[in-house]
Symmetry: C2
Subunit: 347 residues, 2 copies
């Protein structure tokens, strides 16, 4: 866990951050000689996790990695791992002893142990930094390979539990803030065109999370038949194109609907600044509007915290972790309003 | 017209103003020897208005009264007269030459000439000042009687076009801000009890204007068989009782729903402070919430202007008069937000 309680991808800065909030590259790896997780006997699970622990222990100390077994992590902290995108809901639900998560001190790296695959290692960086994230995760992969032998097939590439991940077993994704594409009704057509190119668009927290706060995850689909570099580079190009479309849409909004947008973003700021009760849904929606206002220079920078940081602070788990105690929904809604107000720049 | 563009009852202060915004006493008078307005021939109308003009001219100059013929008043200024409660919609619609309105320089007095009755004179003061308003309108009545002879019957009292006004031909009313009675769902029962006592409750702009901004007009119904002093005193007692109920309801809200009310009034302030487009309906609703917040000391005084002044400034006609030009609805909504923001005290 990081010291600040938040991860580098939330608090840090990076290129194209007006549209691209964060970049992530994830590799799926399975260890030779073990069954896939869905059919792995308990004693093998224990042995595998011990082997991973050993490999982590032998990695260069500057990586600052440490493994937590999920049974040692409280329910609240497990929820926080999901909200920080360091673990999946699947991994943290009903934890068993040999499941775990490896993170570094900046929470830029995470390795899920015994989720769908034996290992899923990811690097998550602020802004558009797919190449950088790939570079880091690739070095991590090499370092672990010193002590672990990956299940690999010359023809199929890295072997994975689900065939969709075969080949590079890599998934690259970017988290994008696309309010203007949504407001100008271009999101549908743009996402449709992306789907044609094998690029998948999902909400902030995966399938079913409908672009809360106009935040979308855009990721590559195909992992077979192309190199990692090609895939990462391809998605980076896509992200830049989508970012360009979003910026055009913002200009269009500013030109055609200035009063309405100034009103919308002003109201959002006013409510965030003076409400006493905020649900996470309303908070993320208003934060999205306020960020749009800032990007259009209709509002001054609304906080010294980044948008990702503000959004993260509104999540139920992270909020309770900040409070240092469990809170019911009504208490969370009040604390959320307070925390946001503490971080807003009044004008 | 007043110099500030607003009337004394809006900008001034008075007793119990946390609940009672303004007090009004109105007398209906008809002049002997003329038919009632609904059957008055044009040449008689001309003569009558000339007689009123003459009487006004002979009244003590310190009253500062002057008569405007409605055909000399622009459509916008006629709308403003209605919004200031100085004339009725009935009087200003389709003006004819001999209809007019007399006002003083503070717009505390108005006399409608040839509305339902020959003359309807009223005095409107800020806060709960029914006795004071009655005193002034009574002296005005006496002064006019020096040159005009009222139609009067020993048994029926002052004769009026409609029999409901017979007797004293007086109507006293108070404009009250009752948000807590509405929010605690006590307004219905309280108004029901008032109806039993012959007291009428209407919205800010008469029948059908449903308590916009939680503002209600409460007036006496019976004008026959009791003296003016009794009627005025009776309504003053009623107003004090209703004000007491409203204050209790505010305390109750503060005790039982503090978070929800703080949230509600905070949001109202935030939107008023940062919106760029405000309809008059939304503005009056939000101003009402903000005043409630101020009365509960949840918000500091939100403006150096009074609540009545803020509400008045949001009215379409007054707003256009302030702008010095005709504005369409979209322009008004933008100017309204601007004017309100100029008058808000930021915290």
């Amino acid at each position: 866990m990081s010291d600040s309680g938040l991860s580098l991808w939330m608090t840090g800065t990076g290129p194209d951050q007006d549209v691209v909030l964060a970049s992530r590259v994830r590799l799926a790896r399975n260890i030779q000689g073990y069954s896939f997780p869905n059919s792995l006997p308990a004693e093998q699970g224990e042995k595998l996790t011990a082997a991973v622990e050993d490999a982590i222990g032998h990695i260069e100390p500057s990586w600052n990695l440490s493994l937590s077994r999920l049974t040692d992590v409280s329910a609240l902290d497990r929820q926080v791992l999901v909200e920080k995108h360091l673990a999946s809901p699947l991994l943290v639900a009903d934890p068993i002893r040999f499941e775990g998560v490896v993170t570094d001190d900046r929470e830029s790296i995470s390795i899920m142990v015994l989720e769908e695959d034996h290992l899923r290692m990811q690097v998550l960086l602020p802004g558009l930094q797919l190449d950088e994230a790939w570079g880091v995760v690739n070095r991590l992969d090499d370092s672990l390979e010193n002590r672990l032998t990956w299940a690999f097939d010359k023809k199929l590439g890295y072997l994975t539990t689900y065939p969709t991940n075969l080949g590079t077993a890599m998934r690259a994704s970017v988290m994008m803030h696309l309010p203007a594409l949504v407001l100008t009704r271009q999101a549908g057509p743009v996402f449709g065109a992306l789907a044609q190119m094998g690029v998948v668009v999902r909400g902030l927290y995966g399938e079913g999370s409908e672009g809360e706060g106009h935040i979308f995850q855009i990721s590559n689909q195909v992992s077979l038949g192309r190199s990692e570099e090609e895939l990462v580079h391809g998605l980076s190009m896509v992200a830049q194109q989508v970012a360009g479309r979003e910026r055009q849409a913002r200009e269009l909004l500013g030109r055609n609907s200035e009063s309405a947008i100034r009103d919308r973003v002003g109201r959002a700021f006013g409510i965030l600044a003076y409400a006493r009760i905020l649900t996470s849904e309303e908070a993320i929606r208003l934060l999205s509007d306020v960020k749009l206002g800032q990007d259009l220079t209709y509002l001054p920078p609304f906080s010294s915290a980044t948008f990702s940081e503000m959004v993260s602070m509104t999540r139920p788990g992270i909020l309770q972790q900040m409070a240092g105690q469990d809170l019911d929904a009504a208490q969370r809604d009040m604390l959320r309003a307070e925390v946001i107000q503490r971080h807003l720049t009044r004008t």
